[in-house]
């Protein structure tokens, strides 16, 4: 009887936007945001890469070019008195630094004072990463321990070779005397019980490990014998 009334569709208004206008705009914004995010990611990536490659944990002071190690494997001069602690430590370095590098072991000694003269004595041969040095028996009397001195053997990227370890600093604190170090790169340095450090200029240079690159101040190559390769040793 009654036919449904069907109203005709309204004519499209020219001012009304098409139905997919907002979705297209959102998509464009989304793409733009993704592009910005990607750009930010790339910038952060490059910055991080630059930071990681430019900031290494162990950057040592470049050492002057030193002579060959073979010339330093001579017998130690025992009890040659020096006029200062620094000179006695330097004498120990000349006698034992080359040997320490070649034998891949630490050497340590006490610097003793007798009157106004200083000399090193009580030399201890340690192993690849340690040497036990006691001041017992040298705390009073005619020969008093006024410092300790030790070497760090050869260059090895796994070890803190160019710096004092915290165990070294602790030794200096506990014994209340300075501790000298001859690094694999041939630098002589000292740490005081209060933790202050200084490097000591020596001439001619002390022997240094050929695996240490003096130009860049970095370890150029870790020798197999140092890193647990053939003949190498590691703490277990």
């Amino acid at each position: 009887m009654f036919e449904p009334i069907q109203s005709p569709p309204p004519p499209p208004s020219p001012s009304q936007p098409p139905q997919n206008f907002f979705s297209a705009k959102s998509t464009a914004l989304l793409v733009f945001a993704a592009f910005l995010l990607l750009l930010l990611f790339c910038v952060m990536y490059c910055c991080g890469y630059y930071y990681c490659t430019r900031n290494t944990a162990h950057v040592a002071v470049p050492a002057p070019p030193g002579p060959d190690l073979q010339n330093f494997n001579r017998l130690p001069e025992h009890r040659i008195s020096k006029s200062s602690i620094d000179l006695a430590a330097e004498a120990f370095g000349r006698d034992y630094a080359g040997r320490s590098i070649n034998e891949i072991r630490e050497y340590a000694a006490l610097i003793l004072k007798n009157g106004g003269e200083y000399y090193y004595d009580h030399v201890i041969a340690g192993d690849v990463s340690r040497a036990a040095l006691s001041t017992m028996g040298y705390r009073s009397g005619g020969h008093i321990a006024v410092a300790g001195v030790h070497t760090h053997g050869c260059s090895d990227v796994d070890y803190i070779g160019e710096e004092f370890s915290l165990a070294d600093k602790r030794w200096s604190q506990d014994n209340n005397i300075p501790l000298y170090l001859i690094t694999p790169s041939g630098i002589l340095k000292v740490v005081d019980p209060d933790g202050t450090e200084r490097a000591i200029a020596v001439e001619p240079p002390l022997p240094r490990d050929p695996g240490y690159d003096g130009a860049s101040g970095r370890i150029r190559k870790t020798l197999d014998r140092c890193s647990g390769g053939p003949g190498g040793r590691r703490p277990q």
Binding site: G48, S129, R130, P235
Partner: protein, 103 residues
């Protein structure tokens, strides 16, 4: 420098920036330091070492380090080096900046 190190260092720096947080307590420093040391130096027998934590207020760096024990089971303070790990942790973001063995 090969492509692998480029990828690894880039990713580490990005994730490090995203998830870094300051290390305010000695316990946190010890936890991070022990994890870093034992992850990298798993071949070491840690029963032979005592672990210590120090804070360097000049550099704002936590130092976690291992000292060798003597035959009596207590730390032997006469030992230079000792082969134990030494870990430096930057306080403001917890980044491990040194993780190496002591000589």
């Amino acid at each position: 420098m090969n492509i692998l190190s480029f990828l690894v260092s880039g990713c580490l720096s990005i994730f490090g920036c995203c998830f870094s947080s300051p290390v305010d307590t000695q316990e946190d420093a010890l936890r991070i330091g022990e994890y870093a040391a034992r992850s990298k130096w798993s071949q070491i027998n840690y029963d032979k070492y005592s672990v210590y934590v120090d804070f360097n207020s000049n550099t704002n760096v936590w130092c976690v380090y291992y000292l060798l024990k003597g035959s009596d089971g207590f730390t032997d303070f006469n030992v230079l080096g000792g082969g134990g790990p030494e870990v430096h942790i930057r306080m403001f973001d917890g980044k491990v900046i040194v993780n190496a063995l002591q000589k």
